[in-house]
């Protein structure tokens, strides 16, 4: 079933959780809603489910206004991050809950039992139907929650941070398993995540959200290769930012020309966003931007080098071959072979850590003399 969100807005206490969001999810598509916390992704998911009522805008299921139906009749399978299993029911009764709740054409108890067994087989939990949720591991609980949602044969499957509470190993396994499950069952599926790796690996299409708006909605390849906004660029993957100046259709850093397409950006200040692979070290004596190495870290087969370059000592991170010996305070030359230039006035993604420390109250630290000001 196709899901279409048309111009939906939602405010909480004066804050816009969703600001005029429109999105179409095709039948059978697996879509990730990706964004930092507070970006409105969960609100969007809950609005589609009918758990939130939008202030303005309409959610369509197959061109029918979904708000015409009660939430009970919408046929959405919703899976919560913390499973929300019925603790007082055995696994079997948890999964059968939706079937038994049907008013019209409720299946016979024997059919329900058979269906539950099939679903348990599907989520690979056969033999655990008599357990209580408290007797299961986190990954098993999440699979029970999924089986329970699938039992009602939902027209849309909505997953809110489905793997958020699980450890990294289980998360990886479940991710692969969910992808396979989707290929077998073909439900229209939306899932919310703040984990870019999860979104890029799992989804057909990734919707990047920020501040209640959709920044970009595209395939994982497009999201990574051609990020529409600096936010998408900096939220996905590693990135460095340096300010450049645009003039005569070229970007320059301290009057050195950087050989990049700047599109139709107007003359003036702009930002150059770089991924580690967009910068390479000049080893053949050719022209390049001089910089000073401030740190090196070994990451897998590569060496992640941070240099300071330019008059204002902007930091750039890039990957160099691990065979090259690079020391701190060494002078190097780098060449920019990729990256994207965005005009001034667009904001990138500030990590939560930075955002938190900027707003935190350090009164005690100031009083103790730890912090000046």
């Amino acid at each position: 079933m196709q899901v279409r969100v048309a111009n939906v807005s939602k405010n909480y206490a004066g804050m816009a959780a969703l600001a005029d969001v429109s999105l179409t999810v095709g039948s059978g598509e697996l879509v990730a809603l990706l964004g930092p916390s507070g970006s409105g992704k969960t609100t969007l998911l809950r609005t589609i489910a009918g758990l939130e009522t939008p202030d303005t805008g309409i959610v369509y299921f197959n061109d029918r206004d979904a708000s015409e139906k009660r939430i009970q009749d919408r046929g959405v399978g919703f899976v919560f991050q913390h499973y929300a299993l019925f603790r007082h029911m055995r696994v079997m009764d948890n999964i059968a809950f939706g079937l038994r709740a049907r008013r019209k054409n409720r299946p016979k108890e024997s059919d329900i039992r058979q269906k539950v067994m099939e679903l348990l087989d599907l989520v690979q939990l056969s033999g655990l139907e008599k357990r209580f949720p408290s007797q299961l591991s986190g990954g098993q609980r999440q699979r029970v929650a999924l089986a329970r949602a699938l039992a009602i044969e939902p027209s849309v499957l909505l997953l809110d941070e489905p793997f958020g509470a699980l450890d990294a190993r289980v998360r990886k396994d479940l991710r692969r398993w969910l992808r396979e499950l989707h290929e077998r069952t073909g439900h229209t599926t939306l899932f919310v995540t703040h984990d870019q790796e999860e979104a890029l690996e799992l989804a057909d299409r990734v919707v990047v959200m920020n501040k209640g708006q959709i920044e970009q909605s595209a395939t994982p390849d497009e999201i990574y290769d051609t990020p529409a906004t600096p936010f998408v660029f900096s939220f996905i993957g590693e990135s460095s930012v340096i300010p450049v100046t645009i003039g005569n259709g070229r970007a320059t850093l301290d009057e050195r020309v950087i050989d990049l397409d700047v599109g139709a950006l107007p003359d003036g200040p702009a930002q150059l966003y770089l991924r580690p692979e967009d910068v390479e070290m000049v080893t053949d004596g050719g022209p390049g931007i001089p910089g000073l190495v401030v740190s090196t870290r070994r990451i897998g087969g590569m060496r992640r080098v941070t240099i300071e370059c330019g008059l204002a000592r902007h930091r750039i991170e890039f990957d160099a071959s691990a065979e090259l010996s690079i020391q701190n305070s060494q002078r190097v030359q780098v060449r920019i072979i990729g990256g994207r230039v965005y005009g001034a006035g667009q904001e990138g993604y500030a990590t939560e850590k930075l955002a938190a420390s900027a707003t935190a109250d350090f009164k005690w630290a100031k009083a103790e003399g730890w912090l000046d000001r």
């Binding site: 489910a49 009918g50 758990l51 939430i71 009970q72 009749d73 919408r74 046929g75 959405v76 399978g77 919703f78 919560f80 913390h82 929300a84 299993l85 019925f86 603790r87 007082h88 029911m89 055995r90 809950f97 939706g98 709740a101 049907r102 008013r103 209580f132 949720p133 408290s134 929650a145 329970r148 949602a149 039992a151 009602i152």
Partner: protein, 293 residues
């Protein structure tokens, strides 16, 4: 993954008893010892005294008192009214807890505080207040008697009303925290799975609250059985009609019939203990049945 069990015993110490597991919470011996001594001094010792002094009666006299029609009428009223009041309190206490937890409205905190008043008020004061209201010439009493033909004040019904008053906070205060703990998401999930509101409440919320409701019921019931102060003011304390067992004990004491008083007390104690024990069993069973552990 299981780490190899540490089997080495410290030299010179006898092996630990099997039920005493090695624990990160030390002080088991000390705290259990303290618990037993304390319980013995505060609870068991007086009760033992009660049993001993009623034993001085001898079986025949004891049974004569136990099956004395006036005594059994009083016992019936005490336990019957306490049971009835506890049932009513359970229904409305759960409702009040629900309203206090689930809805936000002006004056909620005041209402929340008001629930505790029966705890704080001397029960005699409560009894006098209730008696004034429900007496045949009181505000409600006159209305109930003239319009509905129900006599509340100075009757057995008055006993139930008094016990409802003193027992209510027990239900509210035991159910409230459990209700607060119930995850909103389980209700939302229930709705997305197609369950209507009634089904969600009866199949999802109430079962999760059941052990707490049972505890509240037991506490309210126990309080009702032991209540004295408020009841004697609102009931007219007629033998065979509105005389509760604790009052009968006081009457016996006034007559210097100490053996008779302790006999009634012992009977009350045994009945109350059995009933509370059954409720406890029921609760343990329900916890298991509903998978709380």
């Amino acid at each position: 993954m299981s780490a190899p069990a540490i089997t080495a015993q410290p030299c010179g110490k006898p092996p630990r008893a099997k039920w005493r597991r090695r624990s990160v919470l030390p002080g088991f011996g000390l705290s259990l010892g303290y618990t037993l001594v304390y319980l013995s001094l505060i609870v068991l010792l007086p009760l033992a005294g009660l049993a001993i002094s009623s034993a001085s009666l001898g079986w025949n006299e004891f049974w004569a008192i136990a099956f004395d029609p006036r005594v059994s009428a009083a016992l019936q009223l005490s336990f019957g009214a306490a049971m009835l009041a506890a049932i009513v309190n359970t229904v409305f206490g759960v409702l009040i807890a629900w309203v206090l937890v689930r809805y936000r409205f002006p004056g909620r905190r005041w209402l929340d505080a008001a629930v505790d008043l029966p705890f704080a008020l001397p029960t005699a004061v409560a009894g006098i207040a209730l008696a004034t209201l429900y007496a045949p010439n009181g505000v409600f009493g006159a209305f109930l008697e003239n319009v509905l033909g129900v006599k509340v004040g100075f009757s057995a019904l008055g006993v139930v009303f008094a016990l409802m008053f003193v027992g209510l906070p027990f239900v509210v205060r035991t159910v409230q925290p459990v209700l607060e703990e119930i995850d909103r998401e389980t209700e939302e999930v229930s709705a997305t799975l197609g369950a209507g509101r009634f089904r969600t409440v009866t199949r999802v919320i109430l079962p999760a609250m059941f052990p707490a409701i049972l505890t509240g019921f037991a506490l309210s019931f126990a309080r009702g059985v032991g209540e004295y102060g408020s009841v004697i003011f609102i009931a007219n304390n007629l033998p065979f009609e509105s005389e509760i067992a604790p009052l009968l004990i006081v009457i016996k004491l006034d007559e210097h019939n100490y053996a008779g008083a302790t006999a009634i007390a012992t009977i009350m104690l045994v009945i109350a203990f059995v009933m509370l024990f059954v409720i406890n069993l029921l609760q343990a069973w329900s916890r298991k049945w509903f998978g709380h552990d």
